[in-house]
Symmetry: C2
Subunit: 411 residues, 2 copies
Amino acid sequence: MKDKLLNIKREASKFSIISTQIKNNIIKDIAGLIDKKSKEILAENEKDIEKAKKNHLAEPLIDRLMLNKQRLNSIIDSLENILRLDDPVMKVDRGFTRPNGLKILKVRVPIGVICIIYESRPNVTIDAAALCIKSGNAVVLRGGKEAVNTNMAFVRIIKDALSCNNVSKEIVCYIDDPERRYIYDLLKAKNIIDLVIPRGGTSLISFVEENSLIPIVKHDKGVCHVYIDKFADILKATNIVYNAKVQRPSVCNAIESLLIHSDIDEDSVQKILQPLRNAGVELVGCELMNKIYGIEMAIEDDWYAEYLDLKVSIKIVKDVFEAIEHINRYGSHHSDSIITENYSNANAFVNNVDSAAVYVNASTRFTDGFEFGFGSEMGISTQKLHCRGPMGLEDLTTYKYIIYGNGQIRT
Amino acid sequence: MKDKLLNIKREASKFSIISTQIKNNIIKDIAGLIDKKSKEILAENEKDIEKAKKNHLAEPLIDRLMLNKQRLNSIIDSLENILRLDDPVMKVDRGFTRPNGLKILKVRVPIGVICIIYESRPNVTIDAAALCIKSGNAVVLRGGKEAVNTNMAFVRIIKDALSCNNVSKEIVCYIDDPERRYIYDLLKAKNIIDLVIPRGGTSLISFVEENSLIPIVKHDKGVCHVYIDKFADILKATNIVYNAKVQRPSVCNAIESLLIHSDIDEDSVQKILQPLRNAGVELVGCELMNKIYGIEMAIEDDWYAEYLDLKVSIKIVKDVFEAIEHINRYGSHHSDSIITENYSNANAFVNNVDSAAVYVNASTRFTDGFEFGFGSEMGISTQKLHCRGPMGLEDLTTYKYIIYGNGQIRT
């Protein structure tokens, strides 16, 4: 592995200044090869599926692993999306001339070598590699062992596409690490890898956080809330709560908790809860919810829980400030929404909720690179440093200052 | 300490939305109190100096520690500088409306709780606290034990200024940690502290890097270079090299290494070296430099060294690409300059040198928040993530997305 890393470091700096046209051609070729070699990819995927079944993996995990022609087409679509994005490299963020005549430009440049540590979904191999290529970065992929055959097939295609364009194959490398022997070394390779992006469950992310000497951008869990204010439009509230909980419960921007103002009448609350019950959502709640609406009592852990399933915890709060306090305490600073027609309460909410995305009268499900118009995303950052919320192509760059002088010295 | 940290966390969120006027009044009052209580501060500083002398601290360290009326005035000047800076909080970086009508704003907000771990210079206590206050952050200060009496005097003044403005005194806290008992706990307090900024020597920074669970922005060493190209204007080269090495050798943006193109004639090289020799600069160099100019041979370690002193290593290189390779290999990615009148070589240098600040025909000494026109700085970031180069007020903020809807749900 050490050789692979030294090679990638050396090649990364050459790749960082390559033209947009070549980068786009590589991505086009990856898409073309996925289409052309779809049978081969699906055959490799079949091996992973068989092994997963033999190892009695849970059904949803097998589903995540599984590719078919339709899923390959959506990977190709996603590549075409990345193709259309503007190249962020060498974009000038600011430029100014100082009184002494120095011309200072703040220019976007690739980060260098990015390491993505992810779990079973094999489409991440292509998405992550293509985003890194488009932004001029070399990439170390360390995928989950369940998807190894599929991942290797994808990596062969990426390397072929690089070769076709006379770019070193070494700028994309895959670490096959079934025994978790190399992950620790990757996290210590601070002179080679510039950024580690962990994507996966809490245990993976904690492991990376605790062991990395390299800066990380983590894509952690989403404990998202909708707060229904005293001044909510109940129809909007009903639709938004249903959408945020039921439309796709397994994703990080779905809600896990519902906060309801204590002045909302019972009829209105029932209007909001009924569609959830009809969709089979399991409800747990605070003492008042239990007493008035007969729903099961929640325990303390419920308020922290990311169910990723048809289950929601419900709490009655006395005002917007109790809602804010609850969200800041129990939430994961991901996405939270207030439903209100009241100007001051909306303001208090957006100013005080400490989350990546704070909504007024909209579903939390919009926290997403595509929905925000960024075209594509590496994930949703749940940290405050470097980038927060949807991590787009530009977030895979850093900057440098280029300073043009004509002999200036400091006095 | 745990209580202090819990308090600061609670108060930080209230402080994050406080008005610019109040923040400015606090900074004004700090400046006023430093002026008013200068005798008291200098008396406390005298205690630190006496202890330092008793412990036989090196003369430069004692000098760093020492305050006098003039140095207090420059601290007051620096506060007035911070006062004049625009408040970055609630600045809208981007704003756009999506086809579905969602209005998305990317808004700057304080990071939250920032921990500064620094060594002996007591002015950092005031500078760092004022920058954090202006950017709406709470701050945990963990200064060096040598300056404890001076630091505590400053912190009392800061707390008085907070009280005068009805702001909780808890948003600034000082950790007196002579035995290094608490530093480890600070680095693990990831649910309370949002960012750690280590400022100091390599051993402090490595310790923080290795033990922190919290994102860091490090202000590490500067191994900076000037490369004199074949097409250099020798007069510009002579002035810039002298300035970059001699004007203030103890700072991170001074150069440690000089690279000279092999085609430059002996007379010109002597013109460049003579002023250095006259200033008492110790020269070490590669084999060729040794053979032709009789200067002492450098060892491998010299090329990595941050002398911070009147000493420079000199290497003859065959072209701009060898210079780039040397700088990327041995440098610290801080500040590097090419002296050339050749357009293509200037381009190759700025595109390929992987440093925070890359210069053409100017001294590296300009890498500085004031010189860049940022008004004030927290230090020079030597990492690529979050911020790079001079860390200004805006770099002490993060952002959140505020999304205004009217009932939008995702389909």
